[in-house]
Each structure stands twice: as C-alpha cells, then as structure tokens.
Symmetry: C4
Subunit: 331 residues, 4 copies
Amino acid sequence: MAGNFRRNKKKPEAIENTGFSSLSNTEGSRLINKDGSANLRKTGMPFLDRISLFHTLIHMKWPKFLLIVFLFYTAINSVFALVYVIIGVDHLKGVSVEAESLLNGFEQAFFFSSQTLTTVGYGHITPLGLTANIAAAIESFVGILSFAMMTGLLYGRFSLPKAYIKFSENILVAPHKGYRALMIRLASYKNNHITDVEAKMTMAMHYMDNGKEVTRFYTPKLEIEKITSLALSWTLVHLIDEDSPLFEMGLEELKQADIEIMYHIKGFDDHFSNIVQQRTSYTANEIVYGAKFLPAFHRSEDGSTTVLELDKLNLHEPAKVPEPNESFINS
Amino acid sequence: MAGNFRRNKKKPEAIENTGFSSLSNTEGSRLINKDGSANLRKTGMPFLDRISLFHTLIHMKWPKFLLIVFLFYTAINSVFALVYVIIGVDHLKGVSVEAESLLNGFEQAFFFSSQTLTTVGYGHITPLGLTANIAAAIESFVGILSFAMMTGLLYGRFSLPKAYIKFSENILVAPHKGYRALMIRLASYKNNHITDVEAKMTMAMHYMDNGKEVTRFYTPKLEIEKITSLALSWTLVHLIDEDSPLFEMGLEELKQADIEIMYHIKGFDDHFSNIVQQRTSYTANEIVYGAKFLPAFHRSEDGSTTVLELDKLNLHEPAKVPEPNESFINS
Amino acid sequence: MAGNFRRNKKKPEAIENTGFSSLSNTEGSRLINKDGSANLRKTGMPFLDRISLFHTLIHMKWPKFLLIVFLFYTAINSVFALVYVIIGVDHLKGVSVEAESLLNGFEQAFFFSSQTLTTVGYGHITPLGLTANIAAAIESFVGILSFAMMTGLLYGRFSLPKAYIKFSENILVAPHKGYRALMIRLASYKNNHITDVEAKMTMAMHYMDNGKEVTRFYTPKLEIEKITSLALSWTLVHLIDEDSPLFEMGLEELKQADIEIMYHIKGFDDHFSNIVQQRTSYTANEIVYGAKFLPAFHRSEDGSTTVLELDKLNLHEPAKVPEPNESFINS
Amino acid sequence: MAGNFRRNKKKPEAIENTGFSSLSNTEGSRLINKDGSANLRKTGMPFLDRISLFHTLIHMKWPKFLLIVFLFYTAINSVFALVYVIIGVDHLKGVSVEAESLLNGFEQAFFFSSQTLTTVGYGHITPLGLTANIAAAIESFVGILSFAMMTGLLYGRFSLPKAYIKFSENILVAPHKGYRALMIRLASYKNNHITDVEAKMTMAMHYMDNGKEVTRFYTPKLEIEKITSLALSWTLVHLIDEDSPLFEMGLEELKQADIEIMYHIKGFDDHFSNIVQQRTSYTANEIVYGAKFLPAFHRSEDGSTTVLELDKLNLHEPAKVPEPNESFINS
C-alpha cells in the first residue's frame, strides 16, 4: 500500500527509462520475481507465438525435461505402432503368430516402431509391402530428425550462458561510515570465474500523488559498481546519506512505500566466454533492519588457499544503526 | 515522388554515414522492407556465392524448411535407388522374386536405400558383391553426413539469436508537450527478457535539388533512446519541435517527400545471452495523422501481476494536433 | 626496398601499438596477406600444439574438407577391416565361402566394418566369439564418436561468424576536394546485413634510418570511419592533405617505401547475431595512380529496388590528380 | 611473510575493487594460480550444485576425457547386460547354446547390449517377449540420448573460445629508459589471430599494518595497454618510476612483501569470432632481477615471411639495472 511518508523531494530524481510503467498497477505485488524474471503475463497472441518452445525446454529443470522427452519418444512410437496396426500387422514379417490378439499386435508393432525410430533395426521384424515400407521409411526419417533436435536441445541446455550467482536471502540496513547503508551479498557458486562484473541497483516505491497511486523509480548509487573479478563474495553497498532517496525513511516508511529493490549483475564468464547476467529483487519484508554481514570465507587449514563458505552468504548479526534523517557523525 | 515543400533548411543537418546512397534511385519504393531487410538485389557474382545456404535455410519458415528437408531425403534415396537398379537388383539379396518388373525393382531398391541412408539396416535386404557393397558403404556415409548437417541446421534454427519484437502497424503523429510527435510502440512478444535496449531512428526524404531527385537522411532525436529493461511496451517518441527536420511539414508534405522512417532496436536478450536486434520501417501511407496510443496493459484480476495485451499494441484514438510550424503553446 | 624520400617529418606521428615489429625484417614481403591472415610462421612448439585442428578443418575449402573426411572414413574402416582379418574372417559369421583368398576376406571384412562404423548393421554378417565381438563393440563406439565430431565440424563450418566482404582489387589515388585521396571500395556480397560497421586503416612504410632499414606505422584518418548499415557499397577515403603522412609522396616514393596499406573492417552481422571482421592489405603494385571509382549500383528496371553490381566493385576510370605536396586549390 | 619495508606511501593508491579480500589470509600462497584460475575452494553447497559438469568435462585434457567417455559407455553397457541377464538370456533369441554358464550369458548379453546402445542392431540376437523388448527399447533411447550428449560435449570442447596465449615463465626486472621496469612477454601460439588486445596488470602485496597482516592491491600502469593486433610477441612493460608502488623496493623487499603480479589479457579472436581472455600470475620467486629479453623472431631465410620462435619467449640475458629509488639519469 502506498504511504504518505515525508519524502526527500528535492534531490534524488525519479527516472523514466526502466521499461516499467509508472502507473501503479500492482498492489503488494512485485515487478521482478525472486528468480529475476519479470512479474508479467502476455496476452493477445496465440500461445505458440508467445512462447519460445526451445528456450522453455532449455530453461526447464532436468527431471521435467527428461520426462517430457521420454513421453515424446513414447508418443511417437505409439502413433507409428497404430499406423502399423491399421496397415495390418501381417505386413510386418517376423511378427509371431500369437499376434492374433489386437493388444499383442499393437505390442509387437510398438517394438518394431521403436526399433525403426531409433534406427536400431534388428531386422527380425521387417516391413512387407509398399505401405508398410513407406511408413517405416518415414518413421526412420522422423526418428533421425527427432534425435537431431534432441542433440540441439541437450547442447542448448549445456551451453547456454548462465550466471551462477547466489544472493543473500536478506537485504540488510547496516551501519556504515556513520550512516545507514543497504547491503546485499553475492557470490558465484560454481567452478567458474566472472570478470569485469557490474552491478546496477533500481528501486521502486509506491506512493499517493493527488489521490492516485503512482510508482516512482530510482537508481541509487552503489559504493563500488564494478569489480575486476568476482572471486570471493561481493557486498553491494548503497550508502543512505543525504543524496539517497531513502534518507528520511525508516523501516515503517519502507514498508508503507511497498519498496522493491532490484539488482542486475552482469559480467564476462570464462566458462562460456560470454556475458552472463542475473537479476533479483527484494521486497520490504526481506529487509533486516539493523544488522551487518559476518565474513563468509576463511583461510584453509593448511594455509594454501582461501575457502568461500556459500552457506554463510546470508550470515549476519544485529548492529545498531542511526535514526533515519541523521547520521552517527552529527548525532 | 519528391516534393517541392518548404524545408527547414538551417538546423537539422543531413547525415552521410547511413550506408545508403543519396542518389535518389528509388521512386515510391522503400529502402528497408517491413521485416527489416534491405530492399536491395545483388548481381555480378554466381548465385551460390551470393547466398548463404545455411542462413537461408535457418531463416526460412518451418513448413517450407521441413518440406525442403523431406524432398532432399527423398531425392537422395531415389538417386541411390537408381544406382542399385543400374547395378542390378539381383545384387540386393532378399529382394523378392516379383522384382522382375522394373518399377517393383526400383521400389524395393528405394526402401533398401532408405534403410541404408537412415542406418536402420533391418538386414532382410543386403548388398551382394563388390559394387553393391561399395554403393551401400557410400550411402550410409552420406546418410550420416546429411543427418549431421540436419542436426546443425536444426540447432542453428533454434539457437539463432533473434529479437522477438512486435511493432505497432502504424506510426502516429500525436500531440505531445504542446507540439506534435512521431510515435510508434513496440513490445517483446515471447517469454524472453531484453535488457539495455537502445533505439535508433533514421529518416529518409526525397526532394528535388536543381532538377535532380536526391535523398537526404536524418537521425531525429528520440526522447528516450535507451531503457534498462523491455518488460512492458515501449513508445518511441520523436518530438517535432523547432529542431526537427519535420517541423514545417504537414501530412501532405510528408507524402510528397516520400518519407521513410526507419527504426533499429538493439538489446541484450537473456534467452540467448546475446545481443539481438531488429529493424523496421514506416512509409508515408502508414502514418496516422492526429492520434494517440491507448494503454496496452492492465492489472490482472487478482492484482498479483501485470498483463500486457499484445493485440492492443497498435490501439489508438483520434487526437487533435497543432498545425505544422507552430505549437499549442504559441498558438 | 626502403627509399630515401623526403618525408613529412613533423606532423604524422608513427605509432607503436600495431602488434608488428618496427625492425624491418621484410624485404618486398607484406605483413598482412591479401586474405587478411598475418604473413608469419611460428616455430618452437610441436606442430599439433601450434595448430588448432578444429579451426583448420573449419576454415578449409569444402572440396578439401569433404575429401579429408572421406579419407578418414576409409582409413578407420580399413584399420578395423585389418583387425577382423587378423582375428580371422571365420569369426565373421555370414562371410561367404569365397573368402578363402586374403583379398576377398579383407573386402568382406571391410564392408562389415563399414556397416558397424555407420551403425547400419544389416546383420547378414555378424561377429562371432569374444574377440570379434569386442572389436565390433569398440568400432561402433568409435563410429558414433566420429560422427559426433563430424556433426560438430559441420555445424562449426556453417555457424562460424564470417564477414562476407568483397574489396576492390585496387587501391586508387583519386582526386578529392582539391587534393589526392586513397580510396578502396567494399561491399558485403551475401544475403546478410552488417550494421554499425567500423573501418580502421593502418599503413606501413619502410625506410633507411642511419643505414638501418626500419618500418614505421601510421593510422591515417578516414573521412567516414563508421556507418550505420553496410547496405550498398562503401568507399573508404583517406584524404592526402597536409596532415597525411603521404602528402609529399608521389607514386615513385610510395613504391620506394614499399608501402603496405591495411584495412580492418568490423561490424555486427545479423546472420550470425555476432561481430564479424575482415582484414585485407594493398601493396604498392596494387595502387592505380590517378583514377576514380564508377558507380556500382543502379535502379532496377521496374524501379522497385536497388541493384548492387558486385562485379563492378573495382570499376574505375582515369582521373587527373594534383602533384604531391600541392592541391588543386593552391595550384 | 609480510615485510616491514619502506613504502612509497603517498602516490600509488591501493584499490578495492579487485574481487579479492584485503584481509591477508594467505601466507606464501597465491591468489591466482599459474593457469589463471583463482586459488579458492568453495564449500557450503552440495558438490553437484557447486560444479558445472559440462564445463568440467569440456576443460578436461583429451586423454582423461576419452577415458571417462569410454568408461561411461562400458558402464551403461554393463548395466543393461545385467538387466538382460536378470530377465533371462533365453529372452534374447540367437544367443548360442553355450550361454548356459552365467559368465558366457553375461558376455553375450553385453554384446547385444552394445549393439542396441549404439543402434548397430545386427539382429542375430534379438529381444524376445515383453520385458526384454521394453529393456531394449529403453536402451536404444538411452543410447541416442547419450550420443546426443556426446555430440554436445565434443562440439563444446572444440568450439569453446579460448585464448591460446603463451607467457614467458619469468618476470624480468629490466633496465628501461634509465629506470627499472617489470617485463613479461607473451605470444599467441596457434594459427589464430587476436585483435584489439588489452592487458591489465594487478599487483598484490602483503605487509604488516598495526600488527595485522593485510593485503594491498595496485593496478600499475603499463606503457602500452592495448595493441591492434597480436601478431608477433608482445612485451608488457611497467616502468618502475616515481609513480610506481615498487619505486623504493629491491628484490629483497619484493620477496618480503610476498608480491604477486597478475596479468589479464583480453582480445577478439578471429578463430572463434569471440572475445577470449587469459590470466596468469607471477610470484616473487619467478622474478629474474636484472635481465632483459632477447628477440624471439627473425626473418625467414628466403626473406618472404617473419618467423616467431615460441621456444625463445622466455629467452633473456643479464642486464645491469639501477638501484631502487633512483634512476640511471640521476645516478
């Protein structure tokens, strides 16, 4: 719900090129989901035009993907088995005499079909006559096309550039340089290496303007916006000083404003030799007010290497922060 | 047809680095087609040198592509079937006795050929003797090469970075800030996400210069040229103020000048983790003079998400605009 | 041969970051070959470490590539055929009785081998006993590995981003703006579209410095260095004015200095959605002194499109140019 | 061990955006390994989440990779052979009578399994009955999936953009312009061509600050940071003048400070049409104090080309250098 808080109206200017609308059409809902996708639905075009089948299959989790592939294989097999049954199983030489029952006929046709589709072609069952031969020729062609697609899909899944970045679950309001600061922490969690990493922060706040609820966007400054190499963990720090749009806001005001804080990380990954990127967002209920991160790495026991503890990425302890609109220095 | 209209000669300077010629050699014809390709034909080199077969097959529509692939499969099959017929079907062991007629021989050779090409190899028909064996060995090799190519083509089709951007069918002359403005609207229509999106606008006008028809190019300024994220729809706005080459032109003058307005969109797509781009162009008869776009998105019924209606991308209603060469403000 | 010409010593400064050496170690030989590769040999490492097999196969011309692939297929087939002969053709069930002669035995083993390698596996010949079965199991595995490699190679050949750019064979010294200018012309010759195209020019000259032959590098200015779109042909123009290192040099001096003029073109190709680049170089004997290019495109007969004539890219006619060290203006 | 040396405290400012920690947690150990990977271990997540299997297999050396692939093939074969043995080898028609012994039964099942997995399918052994047929249908499907993965892995191995850059084994402290300079030399060792090459240098030094060991990072200036083309060898030169953090340090001080000097090379490779990059690092014991590189290339005997000798990349001879904190000029 949009609040009525005192806002630092002068300095931080709202921006307009975020790609989101300033018409506040979301109530308590977020713009960016936790996994970085936009909280958005598209209509007005046929489903297949609106969806990229290839990329949907590529971004799917493995078990679901393998299940779909297996069902697809079974379905094609069954369709062709049906075709052979319609043509007549007597046109499949080698089918055993028991094939008199329809079920047994379908069963044997199904296995012949799978032998044709995968191009195993043992040859103890073979097509007989023009129609059966045409069906088999088409099926083996379909098989090869399908498995060519499979190869593409599997390679696509493996090779798609992806930022393996883990974010802290919470966003902290921590004491920093006599002020408060917004802090999150992130690390790459695979055996990859990301260089020339850039971070961008965008903030959305909802409030009432002449009785209408509107959304304003800000791009608050980060203390360090670019690092050469993301080897260890990286803490993104936005100092809430006089220039910050949050300078006069406490926890209550942040909640009232339905604040959403979005991060966009971009870098060059040497696994893929490509640019990778990841987004995430935090809403008001993910803020831990008055806390600071604890170290997430230590020296290895033999002293020869550094150990990064990914399960400690969110580890923090309480810490006293100044009141909104003031700093330790002048307090 | 190039007009003789009053032109704001001082301020907007024509540019020369568009890659197009200023020798007006097109009469009523466009430089960029609606789908973004250049309206250009190349000669003076052999067809196969001038065309990239791979990319032609990759950019082809699916039905045409699958048809070509199927015809190719049938053609290779037939060629080898012919080879076996020439060698003699008696060198294919297992061919049934009826194969005495030439047609039936070709038929059986054709199916043996398809079994060899797809490497099904049931084995009820097998090559006999040196020549038939060599032919079969070559065919299975050709088969594997062809299907390796197929894999490449299919993966190429799926993975080629492509901007799934839909443009409004019309370009509007809309009222904006007391002036007129050229506006188009665009949105990405798949389940992808494009970030760091840039738009460039180029305008071509034809007019008479000392009795010779020439083309002049302009790169008019867009109010917002870059957005962080193309989540919702984006309206590209060129304000027709005193600095615009169109300031003194009304609808008639735009038509007389055979105006062509080209847009080039470029961004980073997270589906492909690659830069994607798309071009389009509008000619004078696609201008709707005096109109403004209506919203193309709304809040979902449960309030949890935003719904983008792609079929409303071109939705507009009439709107009064100032006369050319003036603004609401000074009128 | 390095000349002793008058050189404009003050203004154009030689540069040092070309990646080439300023120790003149080439006499009459070029730095960059016509096809854009460096004229360079590497030693001191084993051949296979120095060569990228994959990329060599990918950049090879098609006939040579297909020949190598076919020879490779025949070679593997033969090796396994030999293995089966050593094991004994009597371990291949189905081999006909004539296989008593060694040659005929090898022949039949060869065809069994090819049926196994391509996984056709008709089954009229089958392995018998442990050794033959192991050999066959390994061969079919090798076969599948080889054809997986083949798929990769073919896809690599098709999808490798490549700039399809044709250059004029000659570099002209043409009259331009009252001065002389170095001009070449280029065009993309496939059905692709290159955008945001940049050109860079580097010039190498050899001359005597205290009795030692040295090479100096220059990056002369181009009138237009970047175009939005390479739709038609593009003429690269370096104006030889007072700021040019060539201002005082005529044809004889250019030849004496063993001048080499290198061009590097880079752009974003929408076929590949990737950056493509191409280099070329011109030596003194490719200069046409006193000439200008003739148009290489015209309007199509029906007036609906532009026709680019790739065979006219080098078309030029003689044209009078000013003397070195002067301009039409002050002459 | 962190030293207590005199440090030029004013000028060169330590930087904080390296992605490494300034808490000195390494004693005698390096941050970047010789091969460019970070000397870092990650914990706190399951192994499979922390590792990218695909990229591990892709970056593996060939013999190890092929061994793993072969073991994988044998393992799957064996698993299915076991399945057939459990179902009963009497459900494999064509298995010879000797199959009475369990071992021989497994052996024959194993070969049937391999014929199914690779889709050779000779057909002299065929599945009989529902269970065996289902197992065979699944196995041929698994086979095709596996070989699709294999294709992806092989293509991934071949096509992954990689900088083929060789560095000199040593880093030299050489005389240069009256000062000392840090120099390394590098060259690309394959038949590729890297353009627009950039080099970045980062230096880590450990020293005692109020009894606590800390690490400071510097990005010393390189004389030439970018070259147009990496054709020959390239010597990276950091001049140790008054602005250098090393100006007051001799060999002993460098060792005491546990200095680590890291280089990051990035360029556009025309083999891959992609950006490639490589890192390396040198520690104190790889410094050769007082030496200079000898040329690593010469003119070919016929004078037509340049020969780059990769085995001479580290070739150097002793050379007198000025004392720390002074220069030849003022000495």
